[in-house]
């Protein structure tokens, strides 16, 4: 026989278990709802681009309204024609102005060039600030850090005037030369290098290594993750840069892909299929890099956050 108190206890216990279960279920539902909302808001637009890039413009218009699953998921008349026209493959594409293969090449070339130059010059500058002795070094560092106070978009009109003076305007080099060094990246790499123990260098000096050899054999091998991170930052910056090439380049043959896509959008008229393909091509490289190297992208955000 159970006493009343025991019965009460039992009932209370059951109630608590039920409440806990309910809470668990509602929290799971809440989480699932959150997933759904985030995925709809952040992924649908990309699916829309990819889906529409593989069908022709009539199909896009026909499925735009009324809304159905067909608006999102292409189901018939699938074609890669938009991509082949964007990349200038085939005879039809040759006669049209939608070919952005050249622009993709220019973007790739300038991004890779800036990444390489930045690796050379930012790394050596960071080596100077992080490892070498020099009278008044801190004042020079202030000179560098102070440039980070000058916001990018503000300096572009003045930069245009200077680039015009040295004859950079409307040449491929306009997209490379001003960016071969970056105060921000020098600053980040300096912190990275300052964290390495100085004994490494001392051991190398005893072995008779010079500064250059220390940089190559001691400092760089220990800074690889940092170098990958800043290279990705630099690649993303140049590949996605728009305002500077927009003003610095007026010859459409030299447009990087972002500028080419923007001008295609205004000139394409109803030819949206091709614009969708061009958009996919213009954003795919950095997105793919991100998907495979997420860690380094987050690292770059975290590092810029430390600065604040």
């Amino acid at each position: 026989m159970k006493t009343d108190a025991q019965m009460d206890y039992q009932a209370e216990h059951n109630r608590m278990i039920r409440r806990a279960r309910l809470k668990k279920i509602s929290s799971a539902i809440f989480t699932l709802l959150g997933y759904a909302v985030i995925i709809i808001i952040f992924i649908t637009p990309f699916l829309y681009v990819i889906g529409n890039s593989v069908r022709n413009s009539q199909q896009i218009w026909a499925n735009a309204y009324p809304i159905s699953w067909r608006s999102f998921i292409p189901y018939e008349g699938l074609t890669l024609e938009n991509y082949s026209q964007s990349l200038g493959i085939g005879d039809v594409a040759k006669g049209m102005s939608f070919d952005i293969s050249r622009n993709l090449g220019i973007s790739l070339l300038s991004s890779v060039a800036v990444v390489c130059l930045s690796l050379i010059f930012n790394t050596s500058a960071a080596y100077f600030f992080g490892r070498l002795r020099f009278p008044g070094k801190n004042y020079i560092l202030i000179f560098v850090v102070a440039t980070m106070m000058i916001p990018q978009q503000v300096v572009l009109v003045p930069l245009y005037i200077v680039a015009d003076q040295i004859g950079l305007i409307n040449s491929f080099w306009a997209m490379v030369v001003p960016w071969y060094a970056s105060p921000f990246i020098v600053f980040l790499l300096t912190q990275f290098m300052a964290d390495l123990p100085l004994e490494f260098d001392e051991a190398a000096i005893i072995d008779g290594a010079n500064l250059w050899q220390i940089l190559w054999r001691v400092v760089i091998p220990n800074t690889i993750p940092g170098l990958i991170t800043v290279s990705l930052m630099e690649f993303q910056f140049i590949w996605n840069e728009f305002y500077w090439p927009l003003i610095a380049i007026s010859d459409s043959k030299l447009f990087p892909v972002q500028v080419a896509v923007a001008s295609q959008f205004t000139e394409s008229g109803p030819n949206w299929g091709i614009v969708f393909a061009a958009m996919a091509l213009a954003s795919a490289p950095v997105i793919l890099l991100f998907l495979f190297l997420q860690r380094y992208f987050y690292e770059s955000v975290a590092m810029s956050g430390i600065k604040g």
């Binding site: 989480t31 959150g34 997933y35 985030i38 995925i39 952040f42 992924i43 637009p45 990309f46 829309y48 735009a64 009324p66 809304i67 608006s71 010059f121 050596s124 080596y127 100077f128 600030f129 020099f134 020079i140 560098v144 440039t147 106070m149 000058i150 916001p151 990018q152 978009q153 503000v154 300096v155 009109v157 003045p158 930069l159 005037i161 001003p178 060094a181 105060p183 940089l215 993303q236 590949w239 996605n240 728009f242 305002y243 003003i247 972002q258 500028v259 896509v261 959008f265 958009m279 213009a282 954003s283 950095v286 997105i287 890099l289 991100f290 998907l291 987050y298 955000v301 975290a302 604040g308």
Partner: protein, 305 residues
């Protein structure tokens, strides 16, 4: 004897000094290319445009005539300039609080220890690495009044179609919405990093004390990630004052100057009207405004610590 001892010593000293000098010279070569870049492409443009702002300056003719403060007087009387500052201010008010609040909500949500959260964070971050031009065009298409997906959904649900970008009232909030969608992931990652740094024991202690989740958030989470919150705010503010790409690719400053933000106004003065001198003066003014804003915000940040 003493003299003879001294001579090699001073010679030694000299040689030592010379070697030190050489060492310094070699060291300096490592930083020189970067310093040249910052001088030529960051400092010199500012000095040059500060000078150009006092001249009637054109790209072909160079410095034509010294006109003193005329560009600045013109700026003070330029109704479009004040209008663009007002538009930028409105954009700031729409953009910054929304970025901070959404980033906070998304960071709290995606910091839970549940399966798939890493993917969710990646999903939120994808727009950050996508080019802003592509993002702008994409949203321009989605929000198109006649054929855009968003309006198709609205119309299918029986609502009226909304003119997002061609309406004077809607255009600026739409530009702000697109910018938030594009940039919020960056702030989310910063705030998640902050949240990961909050010691679990603090929450355990609070639960023992019977603190509600809301109280835990106000009294533990917020104070612990204050630094990251301030950073996100400063970052969003600097971004708000420099918005350009969505305006350029979607509205061209219109309709009726409703999205004519300051950077776009400078762009149109410089490259549509060729008034480089006046555009330089405007750039200098914007630089000063941004310096003041960031100094004020950094002061606020420092006062807390």
């Amino acid at each position: 004897m003493t003299d003879a001892m001294m001579v090699p010593k001073t010679g030694d000293q000299k040689w030592w000094q010379k070697r030190k000098f050489q060492q310094y010279a070699v060291a300096f070569l490592f930083v020189l290319p970067a310093l040249i870049n910052f001088t030529v492409f960051r400092y010199y443009p500012m000095i040059w445009s500060a000078r150009a702002s006092f001249w009637e300056y054109s790209l072909l003719g160079g410095f034509k005539e010294n006109i003193g403060w005329e560009n600045y007087i013109r700026m003070i009387n330029d109704e479009f300039f004040w209008d663009s500052l007002l538009v930028t201010g409105k954009f700031f008010l729409m953009y910054v609080p929304a970025v901070v609040i959404f980033a906070m909500a998304l960071a709290l949500f995606s910091n839970q220890k549940k399966p798939g959260m890493g993917t969710i964070r990646a999903v939120i971050f994808v727009p950050v690495v996508t080019s802003f031009v592509v993002v702008s065009i994409l949203w321009g298409m989605l929000l198109n009044k006649d054929v855009g997906l968003v309006n198709s959904i609205l119309a299918s649900l029986g609502f009226g179609r909304i003119s997002f970008l061609l309406d004077k009232e809607n255009a600026l909030p739409t530009i702000a919405m697109i910018s938030i969608w594009k940039n919020v992931g960056y702030s989310v990652i910063i705030l998640v990093a902050g949240l990961k740094g909050v010691p679990e024991e603090l929450f355990d202690a609070a639960v023992v004390d019977g603190a509600s989740p809301w109280k835990q958030f106000i009294h533990i989470t917020l104070p612990m990630i204050r630094r990251q919150l301030m950073f996100v705010t400063v970052w969003a503010t600097l971004g708000a004052f420099q918005v350009f790409i969505p305006v350029y690719s979607l509205t061209g400053g219109g309709p009726r100057r409703a999205t004519n933000v300051i950077v776009y106004y400078i762009y149109s003065r410089a490259f549509k009207f060729g008034e480089m001198g006046y555009a330089s003066a405007l750039s200098i003014a914007l630089l000063l405004i941004l310096l003041i804003v960031s100094v004020v915000q950094m002061r606020l940040l420092r006062r807390d610590y």
